[in-house]
């Protein structure tokens, strides 16, 4: 099988994006001081990346697993985590 990019993988999923509320918020000031940035490797949807030397995060495409909250070395401070509002987010058709 051909190798798929994360954009292609997320592209097959069904999402209902909440335009009004981000369910995960990242405190970039704290993240700028974080060297290992494990979220950039561990997030299965690869939503954390480094752009222009700064951590960049997009909640669209989140698979709602909670990995970022767990691997964050500044857990509870750098990442404000909750599930999307009812009816929003990923909608697994297989699961």
């Amino acid at each position: 099988m051909k190798r798929l990019t994360i954009e292609q993988l997320l592209g097959v999923n069904k999402f209902v994006l909440d335009d009004e509320q981000a369910h995960i918020k990242v405190n970039k000031q704290i993240c700028s001081g974080c060297q290992p940035k494990p979220c950039t490797f561990a997030c299965p949807a690869s939503l954390f990346s480094i752009k222009d030397g700064e951590l960049s995060f997009d909640y669209a495409g989140c698979l709602e697993c909670g990995t970022c909250r767990v691997v964050c070395p500044h857990a509870g401070v750098a990442i404000e985590w909750q599930y999307p509002r009812g009816g929003f987010g990923v909608h697994y058709r297989y699961g």
């Binding site: 099988m1 561990a42 299965p44 949807a45 690869s46 767990v70």
Partner: protein, 431 residues
């Protein structure tokens, strides 16, 4: 605030929550089953197989009507090391006959079916609702708040999954440490049913379950899995979150590497990816269990950390269903005495201890520790694959007797003889 008070509010329409709702509703109790997805199952994901025993006790012959995929007749574990692999396989046709040992199934369909059973029995199913807070009165849980809405109940059942917000809000669960959970990622790869039957040498609608250890996790604590559904394959990885903290590869790339592994690629060739999903797996067993019951609330399923991974079997749904059953029985007894205090709900722990849930988790209490051994994920797969390849190789080189070959291979590996003896003993005792 509504003055209507139901017997139970069950948060989460997964297998644990829906089982509890079904049993309570069937006995005529007023039950509200709250689910944050727009349909039950739409937020849920797992590896791919449910052991039947727990549900079969509650709904005998459930497979006649439940949306199951294939009964598993084949099990195997494969050690992956570069271009080499060694598999241990087992086939038992008896597993794929009544009372079917285990089934592959897809959660979006199956969880929706189980929740519908609860609804048919009289439970009120409310979907698309995220529960935000617990309502408490003097330390006792008395209901929930979701947005502007508040709902009251004699008891709340926290069936809200591994990231149990409710158990955390109640102060019953600490935030787990990275080493206590694993991240599971999975792709659903569609293939025609006949192709699956041929590739896995399956008779009729029988299915196969395959576990992998070694290269698939890049030496990190974890492994791979493959389950055959009717016309798709569930392929994925489970990697410890503590190990992931030090990963230098992206998880989404690691699963793509796994797909292109020479031992996997031919099995999925020509397939179409239909879904990519991820979920946390509680891995530490009793070491991460929250307070299981207290004034006005009980915790069930993944929220209680009820998962058991022994390396060769991985179980979660049977624990979820049996804990939902124990919660329902507890609530029925508490209702009869009208005592939903910590004391009144203490029966839950007793029922869990009498069932396989706490018995098995207790018996294998040390399994998570055994599977933390780094050697399991790189050095041993290399050793086993190296040894087996030598055994089967004929190339004209001088003969080496088996004993010498084994010791020679161990000497070449990163494992000392002492470690091997110690690891074998520990495995024999812990598993």
């Amino acid at each position: 605030m509504s003055e209507d008070r139901s017997t139970a509010i069950i948060v989460g329409a997964g297998p644990a929550g829906s089982t509890a709702a079904y049993l309570l509703a069937k006995e005529g109790h007023e039950v509200v089953l709250v689910e944050r997805g727009t349909t039950p199952g739409s937020k849920n994901m797992y590896g791919g197989r449910m052991y039947s025993h727990a549900l079969n006790r509650i709904m005998p012959g459930f497979w006649e009507e439940a949306p199951v995929e294939r009964p598993i007749a084949q099990e195997s574990i494969t050690f992956l090391s570069g271009d080499k692999s060694v598999s241990i396989g087992c086939q038992n046709m008896g597993w794929a006959a009544d009372p079917y040992h285990s089934f592959t199934l897809l959660r979006a369909e199956f969880d929706a079916w189980l929740a519908a059973k609860a609804e048919e029995a009289g439970a009120l199913l409310a979907c698309g609702i995220r529960v935000d807070e617990l309502l408490t009165d003097g330390g006792k849980v008395i209901g929930i708040r979701a947005g502007e809405d508040e709902m009251l109940a004699d008891v709340v059942v926290a069936a809200d999954g591994v990231n149990s917000i409710l158990a955390q809000k109640a102060g019953w669960a600490k935030m787990f440490s990275p080493g206590q959970v694993a991240t599971g990622v999975k792709q659903i790869i569609e293939l025609p049913a006949e192709t699956i039957g041929q590739r896995f040498q399956l008779e009729g609608n029988n299915g196969a379950a395959r576990l992998f250890v070694g290269d698939c996790s890049k030496g990190m604590q974890g492994g791979g899995f493959l389950y055959t559904n009717k016309s798709s394959i569930s392929l994925g990885l489970v990697i410890n979150a503590g190990a992931l903290q030090g990963s230098q590869a992206k998880l989404c790339d690691i699963i793509e590497d796994f797909k292109s592994n020479p031992h996997i690629a031919p099995l999925i060739e020509g397939g179409q990816v239909a879904e990519y999903s991820a979920h946390l797996v509680p891995e530490a067993g009793l070491a991460m269990a929250p307070q299981l019951y207290g004034d006005g609330m009980v915790v069930v399923g993944d929220a209680a950390g009820f998962v058991l991974n022994l390396g060769y079997t991985v179980r979660g749904m049977d624990f979820a269903i049996a804990s939902g059953e124990a919660a329902a029985r507890t609530i029925m007894e508490a209702k009869a005495r009208n005592d939903f205090s910590r004391q009144g709900l203490s029966r839950y722990k007793e029922l869990l201890s009498q069932s396989f849930v706490l018995r098995d988790l207790e018996a294998y209490r040390k399994a998570p520790e055994f599977l933390e051994n780094q050697r399991m994920f790189k050095a041993y797969p290399e050793l086993v694959a190296g040894l087996a390849t030598r055994l089967f190789t004929v190339d004209g080189s001088p003969p080496v007797h088996l004993m010498k070959m084994v010791f020679g291979q161990i000497k070449q590996s990163d494992i000392s003889l002492m470690q091997l003896v110690r690891d074998s003993l520990k495995g024999a005792i812990d598993l």
